[in-house]
């Protein structure tokens, strides 16, 4: 089998599995993910609790499914936020050019001078460490990279013949933007959004692991690992399964990202 097809298959399978788990977890879980049961605490995986229970006797599988729903939802909203605002800023900046463009891009680049997770940490201090705070903080932190790519595409396109042709035909600038420039941004945006979903999911898990994300008792993979840390010596499964979920998801995203890039990025075509 050719490698891109293999990547797409495995990556697609992993992400498909994630989406099914998240979708199911949002509606139904085998047990109530928040229900305490001290008689069953730190129970090893068994027929009743497939992946065991945690230090409060909560079912690990149910918590992983509920956590998948939370993480996928947060990541999708964050990526949507960054793509929408980044696209608007990039289109505007590339369209107006001149000093406005230079000022916007100077600030954009200064924000890019912060490592993404650092900017998110700083923003979390402002907006507060909770579910919506994370979406806002990560959304803002990842907007500059979208803006940069869209602006670059706009600048490279606006001197092309087909854009000039659209103007000559009497189309308004706004129509030209929406009808001819924006569709050409979709390919690079898809490549970026795919890998960004992975970054955001990792960032969300990291922040939850640090205690700055979704506050307990609501489960996320990150805060499950943080909670498991004192018990991994006696209950290994607590430290294994949430991390395995994060890793398989990121693996799926990376493989899928490679496949998407192979397909959409003309520069990479023929590399394999």
């Amino acid at each position: 089998m050719r490698l891109p097809a293999f990547n797409a298959l495995i990556g697609g399978g992993l992400i498909g599995g994630l989406l099914i788990a998240a979708g199911t977890g949002a509606l139904w879980t085998p047990y109530d993910p928040l229900k305490l049961s001290f008689r069953e605490k730190l129970a090893a995986p068994s027929a009743a609790h497939w992946l065991g229970t945690d230090e409060f006797g909560r079912d690990v599988l149910s918590r992983l499914m509920a956590g998948a729903a939370t993480s996928v939802w947060i990541s999708l909203l964050t990526v949507a936020l960054a793509v929408i605002f980044g696209t608007l800023i990039g289109l505007f900046s590339g369209y107006v050019r001149g000093w406005v463009d230079r000022v916007i891009m100077a600030f954009n680049d200064a924000l890019l001078a912060f490592p993404g997770i650092l900017l998110a940490l700083g923003l979390l201090a402002v907006v507060g460490a909770n579910k919506y705070g994370i979406i806002v903080a990560l959304g803002i932190a990842y907007t500059p990279s979208v803006a940069r790519i869209v602006r670059g595409t706009v600048l490279s396109l606006r001197e092309k013949e087909f854009i000039a042709a659209s103007r000559v035909m009497g189309n308004s600038e706004a129509f030209t933007m929406a009808r001819h420039i924006l569709p050409n941004c979709i390919a690079p945006l898809t490549v970026l959004a795919t890998s960004m979903f992975g970054y955001v999911l990792l960032a969300e898990s990291s922040l939850s692991f640090l205690g700055l994300g979704v506050p307990p008792p609501a489960p996320t993979w990150g805060n499950m690992l943080a909670g498991a840390r004192p018990y991994i010596g006696q209950a290994m499964w607590l430290g294994i399964f949430p991390g395995l979920c994060i890793s398989l998801t990121l693996l799926g995203i990376n493989l899928l990202g490679d496949a998407v890039r192979d397909r959409l990025d003309p520069r990479m075509r023929g590399m394999r």
Partner: protein, 314 residues
């Protein structure tokens, strides 16, 4: 060469300035009055007003920025609300802890991953290539905090070879200091191998398709000479740039690894300050890491001509 260096250095100044402004504005957006926060439960309206005056909080925002910025230029980042310590020495001592982990890990990761990536590209689509890329993608997909937990579980708790948590300064006790750093360094080392290998492979692939490589082969050079003297030298640029980004990103994201191994580094300082709402320290940490990020990338840029003289000509 000198002109190239000067241009790059001058170009970094506006970025640093805007970084400083952004951090200042960001911290001022935190809800709540710093003075009443600093005084806590003992605050009276009079003491709050007094402290606000001492901190300059009763001035206009631009004036506040001016005062803060002039202190910043003198290396004065203010005083921590919680510990009442000056912030810069605090950050520097924590930074040293994080920096030794990050630098050692990235150095060894590059040493392994760059040649491995070049060889994978050279043997493209063979079992060796697929194995290396597969392993790299797998390593890159494992978050550092879980990789750290797994290492801790295996080497610390099962085999009992290495201490589970804690930190001893290398200055105090070199041998024990190194023992405590092995697992955090190994964690970042394994993760970054994945990142760097893929980049080294991709940029080598791009170069191997060029005509001058065919020419080098046609004139009868050995594969080794083609690969290392011609392909590698030209392919290293993007990887070198990536290494700079990796260093900066690690410094920003090292808090999770420091949390796993309870290491008192810069990342932990930032996270603890966010919990404690110690806003001068948050401000100082963010500024410090962002400055490091810009400076590392500047140094990377300045070193670029050493192996690729073409950039100075542009």
């Amino acid at each position: 060469m000198l002109r190239f260096a000067l241009t790059r250095i001058v170009m970094a100044i506006p970025t640093l300035l805007i970084v400083a402004v952004s951090v200042f504005v960001l911290i001022r957006l935190i809800p709540g009055d710093p003075a009443s926060l600093m005084l806590g439960d003992l605050a009276t309206p009079a003491s709050i007003a007094d402290l606000r005056a001492r901190l300059g909080l009763d001035q206009s925002l631009p004036t506040q920025f001016g005062i803060w910025f002039s202190h910043l230029l003198k290396g004065d980042l203010g005083i921590s609300i919680n510990s009442q310590e000056p912030i810069l020495p605090l950050i520097l001592s924590r930074f040293w802890v994080s920096a030794q982990i990050v630098l050692v890990a990235v150095f060894f990761a590059s040493l392994v991953a760059v040649p491995a990536g070049v060889i994978a590209a050279w043997r493209q689509d063979t079992t060796l290539d697929l194995g290396l890329v597969g392993a790299a993608t797998l390593l890159l997909s494992i978050p550092t905090f879980w990789l750290g937990l797994l290492l801790l579980l295996f080497f610390g708790l099962k085999l009992e070879w290495l201490p589970v948590v804690g930190y001893v300064s290398i200055g105090d006790d070199p041998w024990r200091g190194i023992i405590y750093l092995i697992m955090p360094i190994l964690t970042l080392f394994l993760h970054e191998i994945g990142v760097i290998l893929r980049m080294a492979r991709a940029s080598t692939l791009e170069v191997l398709r060029l005509d001058y490589i065919t020419h080098a082969r046609a004139k009868g050079l050995s594969e080794g000479a083609v690969l290392w003297r011609h392909a590698f030298k030209n392919a290293f640029g993007p990887t070198w740039t990536l290494i700079g980004l990796v260093l900066g990103n690690l410094l920003g994201g090292i808090a999770v690894v420091e949390t796993v191994f309870t290491i008192p580094g810069l990342g932990r300082l930032l996270v603890d300050s966010i919990f404690a709402r110690d806003y001068p320290v948050i401000q100082g940490c963010m500024l410090f890491v962002a400055f490091c990020y810009v400076l590392v990338n500047l140094v990377i840029d300045l070193c670029y001509p050493i192996f690729d003289p073409r950039v100075t000509a542009q």
